[in-house]
């Protein structure tokens, strides 16, 4: 078993830590020098549920949640067969990992001075590396994190968090979008940009809010993927623009051209 071969080929990565951070949320840490040294905020990896089995057949995509030294972490929410197998991977077992994949957040663009991270559910996985970058580069930012109740937050690597819960059990009573709206309505908001990752409804609300306040907004999408590397055309998102030749006229590929898009690019 090779633990590492060529940079860009799939790698059998030994799992070095497994921890449960919330009900149904497991973090796996694995050794993967290539990903750890090259990944950018917003990229993802594609992981085989079980090496040597044809069912489940395809890899499953996960955001790179954290890196430390030569190790990477992903956060797995129990969703179906593939994720439940993966969530049960034990320390010492190996993950077959392909990555880093996809395009990073447009986090170095100059269309903002202050970043607003809009987070919901397992979408949190896309935020820690972004948070780290903003902290390190002293970019002003704040994080609006919404969940059904206070047991569901996975905020270990976040900073400057404003919480919102549907049941009021922690922070604001309501959605993180309403909380953010309240803040924005309060007054002057110096060149902000929203970076949003969460359930589709939250993404749609984030886009609507950004439209209303006329600020840039980038959302990270999830679609079913067969390959994760741009060769199957299985992961389209409808687009309003027509410059995208690769996939014909009407779609972007989420795996390579995303997973994050500016709100103007897509129809969700």
């Amino acid at each position: 078993m090779t633990t590492h071969r060529l940079a860009s080929r799939s790698t059998l990565a030994p799992v070095t830590e497994r921890r449960q951070i919330a009900p149904g949320l497991v973090v796996l840490r694995f050794l993967h020098p290539h990903i750890a040294s090259t990944v950018e905020p917003g990229q993802f990896v594609n992981v085989l549920p079980k090496v040597g089995f044809t069912a489940p057949l395809l890899r499953r995509p996960f955001s790179v949640y954290w890196i430390e030294g030569e190790e990477c972490e992903i956060i797995i929410q129990d969703h179906g067969l593939g994720t439940s197998i993966l969530a049960n991977t034990q320390v010492g077992e190996h993950l077959d990992v392909l990555g880093p994949l996809g395009s990073p957040w447009r986090y170095k663009s100059d269309d903002f001075d202050t970043a607003v991270l809009v987070v919901g559910g397992v979408g949190v996985a896309a935020m820690p590396l972004l948070t780290k970058h903003f902290l390190k580069n002293e970019v002003p930012f704040s994080t609006y994190y919404g969940a059904r109740n206070d047991t569901l937050f996975a905020d270990e690597y976040l900073a400057k968090v404003r919480y919102a819960t549907d049941d009021g059990s922690k922070g604001y009573h309501g959605t993180n979008i309403s909380l953010l709206r309240d803040e924005l309505e309060k007054g002057s908001h110096p060149r902000i940009k929203l970076f949003a990752c969460g359930p589709t409804k939250m993404m749609q609300a984030a886009i609507a809010l950004a439209d209303e306040f006329n600020v840039p907004c980038e959302v990270s999408l999830e679609t079913e993927m067969a390959c994760g590397v741009g060769i199957c055309q299985g992961c389209p998102v409808e687009t309003s623009v027509t410059e995208n030749v690769t996939s014909g006229k009407k779609f972007y590929l989420v795996c390579t051209q995303g997973p994050s898009f500016l709100k103007e690019q897509i129809v969700i």
């Binding site: 860009s8 080929r9 799939s10 085989l48 044809t54 069912a55 489940p56 057949l57 395809l58 890899r59 392909l98 679609t223 079913e224 993927m225 067969a226 390959c227 590397v229 741009g230 060769i231 199957c232 055309q233 299985g234 992961c235 389209p236 998102v237 409808e238 030749v245 690769t246 996939s247 014909g248 006229k249 009407k250 779609f251 390579t256």
Partner: protein, 322 residues
């Protein structure tokens, strides 16, 4: 590791028509894009050949999502022949692929005989040195026009093949569908019309339903089933085509390993294509090539020809008419 091609004891070279492939492992149309994306994850010069994503005259956006559903040991797709159109294909894709030491087969999909001819002629007039030929897709289950309506009609397949044959001296390969009562008359029609080979199989019509919403999981309701699940079906169809015609066969369907490829050679295939497995591992082709070489060494087989069409049927079963 780069596989040794044709040196040493085992020679992986295979001839089809007037073309020499350095090994019999190709990648299947629609499962490898136009090479550039996969090139980040594998050395595509290792491959015997690349069959490019089906190209039509105009670009096609493809179908609305959802396009992909995993199924037991397989997947359904309904991409809908999303492609860049023949002009971008010859302007950008063929030249890019010309840089690699592998054969290119341009797969063509169209909704009329005229369109098939036009696309082929346009590519022919812009051919690059490693363009080995054409694979005619008459078997896509995921488009409204063309596709399966051609592929399930033996007369149309014969007529189309006959119309295309005079347009090129390169390889003319017809990609057949498994969604017919018997593939035998189709193989015979392609042989009679002068095709150099048939490729077998395209995807099998399948469907999956979301039991909570009662909606089909694929936007187009049905789609094409591929992957290891369909391998036994593909092997049986290649066997049937071999028994009933002499036209060379390119075996496709659920191949994940050299052992799987070997099954296709034994029932009669000269070459094979890897499809869905590329999604699991874009480097699968290289691994299969290396393993095939090893396996052949172990078996003391020196060339792929010595494997092709070597099925052994027990005497007592033959006596019973099997």
């Amino acid at each position: 590791m780069q596989p040794s091609n044709g040196t040493g004891e085992v020679n992986l070279k295979v001839n089809l028509g007037n073309v020499e492939f350095k090994n019999p492992i190709l990648v299947a149309s629609g499962t490898f894009g136009y090479g550039s994306e996969a090139a980040k994850f594998t050395d595509i010069s290792n491959l015997g050949g690349i069959v490019t994503k089906s190209v039509s005259w105009k670009p096609r956006p493809g179908n609305y999502p959802r396009r992909i559903v995993e199924t037991p040991s397989g997947m359904l797709n309904s991409i809908g022949l999303a492609n860049v159109g023949v002009h971008v294909f010859v302007d950008e894709k063929l030249p890019y692929l010309a840089e690699f030491d592998t054969k290119i087969i341009a797969n063509i999909a169209a909704s009329s005989q005229e369109e098939y001819c036009n696309v082929l002629e346009h590519i022919e007039s812009h051919a690059t040195p490693n363009l080995a030929g054409y694979e005619i897709n008459v078997s896509c289950p995921n488009v409204k026009d063309g596709g399966l309506s051609f592929g399930t009609n033996v007369d149309m397949v014969h007529e189309l093949t006959s119309a295309l044959r005079p347009l090129t001296k390169r390889l003319l390969i017809v990609k057949l569908t498994p969604n017919v009562t018997s593939v035998a008359p189709f193989a015979q029609a392609c042989e009679a019309a002068g095709a150099d080979a048939i490729s077998l199989i395209n995807t099998v019509v399948g469907m999956s339903v979301d039991v909570f919403t009662h909606k089909p999981r694929l936007a187009t309701v049905t789609g094409g089933l591929s992957g290891p699940a369909i391998r036994p079906i593909a092997v049986a169809q290649c066997y049937n085509a071999r028994k009933n015609s002499k036209i060379p066969i390119i075996g496709i369907g659920g191949i994940t390993s050299a052992m799987d490829a070997m099954e296709f050679f034994i029932v009669g295939a000269s070459l094979v294509q890897l499809g869905t497995i590329n999604f699991v591992d874009p480097d699968a082709g290289t691994k299969v090539i290396n393993d095939l070489q090893e396996l052949m060494k172990q078996k003391g087989v020196h060339s792929v020809d010595q494997l092709t069409n070597t099925l052994v049927i027990e005497e007592r079963m033959k006596a019973l008419g099997w």
